[in-house]
C-alpha cells in the first residue's frame, strides 16, 4: 500500500469513489483480477478465460504478462489489489516443475491472506459445449461433493476460496427464476496410501483430482406444491484439477478477517445495513417511493397568446407619443390610451 500515493479528493465525485473503497460494515462484492505470469500454456490461458467469463462483471482481466510468482513474492499482487480495489486473484503460470499452474490468491486489507495452487490436468472450454450459456452477472449455485471438502485442510481451503470467488457476496434476496447455472466441484476418491519403501520411508499421500463442471439449470414444469424438478446441461468449462501447494492464512490476520460487525437482525435482513432512501413499504405491503422535484418554473410557461399580453405592449402608445410629439397617436396606441 505504501507504494500508492494517498489521493486527496478534489471534488465530490472523486470523494464518493474513494468512500466506496473505504472499509464498510456491509462490504462490496469482491472483485477478482486475472493475471498471467511470464510463461503460460494453452490450457492455462483457456482456463483463465473461461473462469473470467464466469466471474464477470466483477472481474478484471489483465492483458499483459507480469513477472509474478505469488508463492515467492506477492508484492505485485498487493500492489494490484490496492490499485484496483480487488481482493481476489487468479494467476496463471506454466513451468517445467509445475506445468499448467493456476494460483488462487485471496487478500485481506491489501495483504495476502491465503493461496491455493492447482494444476490443470484436462480442460474443455466453454466454446466446446454447444449449449446456451448463462447470462453475465447471474449468481451461480455452487455444489461441492466429497467428504474431503469437510475434512482435508487443502480441500477445505480450496472450497473456501472457490466459494469466495463465485458466491462470496451474500445477497439479501434472490428471484427464484433467475437461477441459470450451477458450478459443481467434486473431489475424487482418495487413492490408496503408498507403501513406504527403503528409499522413501514416509511417502506423501497423493491427493485426488478435483473436477470443476458448470451446468445450466432448466426448471421443469412441476405442480406448485411439489419441489422443483430440474434438468442440467453442461455449458463448460470442464476442468480437472490437482491440488498443489497451499499457503494457509496467518492466524492473527484470519482472526481479524473473520470478525463480524454487530448488526441488528432486521437491518441484516432488509437491505443488509444499506441506507435505503425514500422507499417505504406501507401497511398494504406496497412499495411506496418518494420523489423529489425542483420547484416548477411557471414563468416560462406559454399561456394564451394575445396581442395585449405581448411584452412592451403597454408602453407602445406612450413611446410613440414621446418620439413624435404633436403627431397623431398610432392606431395601436388608440386602444391603449382609453
Amino acid at each position: 500500500m505504501s507504494m500508492l500515493r494517498t489521493i486527496k479528493p478534489k471534488n465530490a465525485r472523486v470523494k464518493r469513489a474513494l468512500d466506496e473503497r473505504e472499509p464498510k460494515l456491509v462490504e462490496n462484492e469482491k472483485s477478482a483480477i486475472f493475471v498471467r505470469g511470464q510463461n503460460t500454456s494453452e490450457k492455462v490461458r483457456l482456463a483463465m478465460k473461461d473462469l473470467y467469463s464466469l466471474k464477470r462483471p466483477s472481474a478484471i482481466s489483465f492483458s499483459r504478462k507480469n513477472d509474478i510468482h505469488p508463492f515467492e513474492d506477492a508484492s505485485s499482487l498487493e500492489f494490484f489489489a490496492g490499485k484496483n480495489d480487488a481482493s481476489l486473484f487468479l494467476t496463471g503460470l506454466h513451468s517445467k516443475k509445475r506445468p499448467d499452474n493456476l494460483i488462487f490468491t485471496r487478500m485481506f486489507d491489501g495483504r495476502v491472506l491465503d493461496m491455493v495452487e492447482v494444476g490443470v490436468d484436462a480442460i474443455r472450454g466453454m466454446s466446446e459445449f454447444e449449449s446456451v450459456k448463462a447470462s453475465i452477472g447471474v449468481r451461480p449455485l455452487m455444489v461441492f461433493h466429497s467428504d474431503l471438502f469437510d475434512t482435508h485442510p487443502s480441500f477445505i481451503a480450496l472450497k473456501s476460496i472457490l466459494l469466495d470467488f463465485y458466491n462470496g457476496h451474500a445477497l439479501p434476496s434472490l428471484p427464484l427464476t433467475s437461477v441459470e447455472h450451477v458450478i459443481s466441484i467434486t473431489a475424487g476418491p482418495l487413492p490408496p496410501a503408498p507403501v513406504p519403501t527403503s528409499t522413501n520411508p514416509t511417502p506423501t499421500q497423493p491427493l485426488p483430482k478435483v473436477h470443476f463442471r458448470v451446468y445450466t439449470v432448466a426448471l421443469l414444469p412441476a405442480p406448485a406444491s411439489a419441489p422443483p424438478r430440474i434438468s442440467l446441461t453442461e455449458m463448460g468449462p470442464s476442468i480437472d484439477l490437482t491440488v498443489r501447494r497451499i499457503q494457509e492464512a496467518d492466524e492473527d490476520m484470519l482472526k481479524q478477517a473473520m470478525k463480524r460487525p454487530k448488526m441488528e437482525k432486521r437491518t441484516q435482513l432488509s437491505g443488509l445495513g444499506k441506507k435505503r432512501k425514500n422507499i417505504e413499504t406501507d401497511e398494504m405491503g406496497d412499495r411506496v417511493g418518494q420523489l423529489h422535484f425542483k420547484k416548477q418554473d411557471l414563468k416560462g410557461m406559454q399561456g394564451r397568446k394575445m396581442k395585449g399580453l405581448k411584452p412592451g405592449f403597454e408602453n407602445r402608445g406612450k413611446r410613440s407619443q414621446i418620439k413624435l410629439p404633436g403627431a397623431k397617436a398610432g392606431g395601436a396606441a388608440e386602444g391603449d390610451d382609453e
Partner: protein
C-alpha cells in the same frame, strides 16, 4: 411440436436420476451453496462425467428445493415487475473472510473532545438567519451571506484614529479569509490526529513498521548525533564553522504545558479548581517570579554579587594607575 415434446419427455426422465445419499446434503441457502459430504463411490466414479452429472443433479435439486421453501419477499411487487417469486435469503452459515477490516469508529475532533469534557451539548445552527433590518431570512454564509455583510455594504463608518488608506471592506474580507484558513488548518490537524489514533494495532503491521526502521536509518541517526556533538567543540560552539551539506539542524526542546482544562470526571474538575485558586492566591500574596539566590534580586535592592565585582574592577583599575 413433436421434437419439443420429445425433449421435454427426455428432460423429465433425466430429472428423476437423483442418487441416494448416506449423509444428508448440507445446504447453505445464504451462499446458494450445497455440500454433499458423502464419500465418492469409486465404482461409479470410473464412469466420470455421467456420475458427476447425477451427483450435481442430486445436490442441486436439494438446494433448489430448500430455496423454494424460503419465505418470499415482496410477493406483490415482484409479480408486478415480472421477476417472479423472490426468496428472502438467510444470512450465510459458512463464514468467509472479509475483504477489509471492520471500519473504525470516527475519532472525535478536538472541539468535540473538549465539549464532551465540559458537558457542552451540540447545538445545530440553521442555515438561514433572521435579518432584522431587511426583515427576511438570509443565509448565514455563501452568496449574500450574513458573514460578509460588512464587506458588501456600500458605506463604511471610519473612525478618527483609523489610517487614511484603510479599506474597511478588504480588511473584513481578509479577516474572513483568515478564519477560513484557520479552520482548514484545524480540520487537517483533526484528520491527522484521527489517522494516528486509528493507526493499526495489528501486530503484523506493527512489525512491518518496525522493520522499516532498518539498521541503515539507525546508523544514520547515530552519525547525525555525533556530528551535532562534535560541532560544539570549537570556541564559538560551531557557530562560525562551515556547514556540511545536509547537516542536521539543532532542534531545541519544546516547552510543554499542562492542559488548562481537565476532564470533569474523576476529580479533574476539583484539581482544576485548586490549580486556578493557587494561581490567584499567589497573585494575592504578591509573589512574582521566583528569585534566584545571589541573583539580581528585587527592584530597589542591591545586587550584592554585582556590587562586589564592580568594586573589585574599580580597585584594580586604580592600582594600575
Amino acid at each position: 411440436m413433436d421434437v419439443a415434446q420429445d425433449l421435454a419427455e427426455y428432460a423429465a426422465k433425466h430429472a428423476n436420476n437423483v442418487l441416494e445419499r448416506d449423509v444428508p446434503i448440507e445446504v447453505d441457502a445464504g451462499l446458494l451453496a450445497a455440500f454433499d459430504n458423502t464419500p465418492v463411490d469409486e465404482a461409479a466414479y470410473a464412469d466420470l462425467n455421467p456420475h458427476l452429472l447425477s451427483l450435481t443433479l442430486t445436490s442441486t435439486a436439494s438446494l433448489l428445493a430448500s430455496l423454494f421453501t424460503l419465505p418470499r419477499a415482496h410477493a406483490q411487487s415482484s409479480t408486478s415487475t415480472g421477476t417472479g417469486p423472490t426468496a428472502t435469503l438467510p444470512p450465510p452459515k459458512t463464514l468467509l473472510p472479509r475483504e477489509k477490516a471492520l471500519p473504525k469508529p470516527k475519532q472525535p475532533t478536538k472541539w468535540e473532545r473538549f465539549a464532551k469534557e465540559k458537558g457542552i451539548s451540540h447545538r445545530t445552527k440553521d442555515k438561514k438567519e433572521w435579518d432584522e433590518e431587511r426583515g427576511e431570512w438570509v443565509s448565514r454564509w455563501g452568496m449574500g451571506g450574513k458573514n460578509r455583510e460588512g464587506e458588501e455594504q456600500w458605506l463604511h463608518e471610519v473612525k478618527n484614529r483609523d489610517d487614511a488608506d484603510l479599506d474597511p471592506a478588504s480588511t473584513l474580507r481578509a479577516a474572513r479569509k483568515a478564519r477560513v484558513t484557520k479552520n482548514l488548518k484545524q480540520q487537517s490537524a483533526n484528520t491527522n490526529r484521527a489517522i494516528n489514533a486509528n493507526a493499526s494495532t495489528d501486530p503484523a503491521i506493527e512489525k512491518a513498521r518496525a522493520d522499516k526502521v532498518s539498521s541503515r536509518t539507525k546508523r544514520k541517526s547515530e552519525i547525525d548525533r555525533t556530528l551535532l556533538i562534535t560541532g560544539t567543540a570549537t570556541a564559538s560552539m560551531g557557530r562560525f564553522d562551515k556547514k556540511l551539506e545536509g547537516e542536521p539542524k539543532v532542534k531545541g526542546v519544546k516547552r510543554k504545558f499542562e492542559a488548562n482544562e481537565l476532564p470533569s470526571g474523576g476529580g479533574g474538575a476539583k484539581e482544576e479548581r485548586e490549580r486556578q485558586m493557587g494561581v490567584l492566591k499567589r497573585v494575592e500574596r504578591g509573589e512574582g517570579k521566583k528569585v534566584r539566590k545571589g541573583g539580581e534580586g528585587r527592584e530597589g535592592d542591591v545586587n550584592a554579587r554585582k556590587a562586589v565585582r564592580y568594586e573589585g574592577k574599580q580597585q584594580r583599575a586604580r592600582q594600575k594607575k
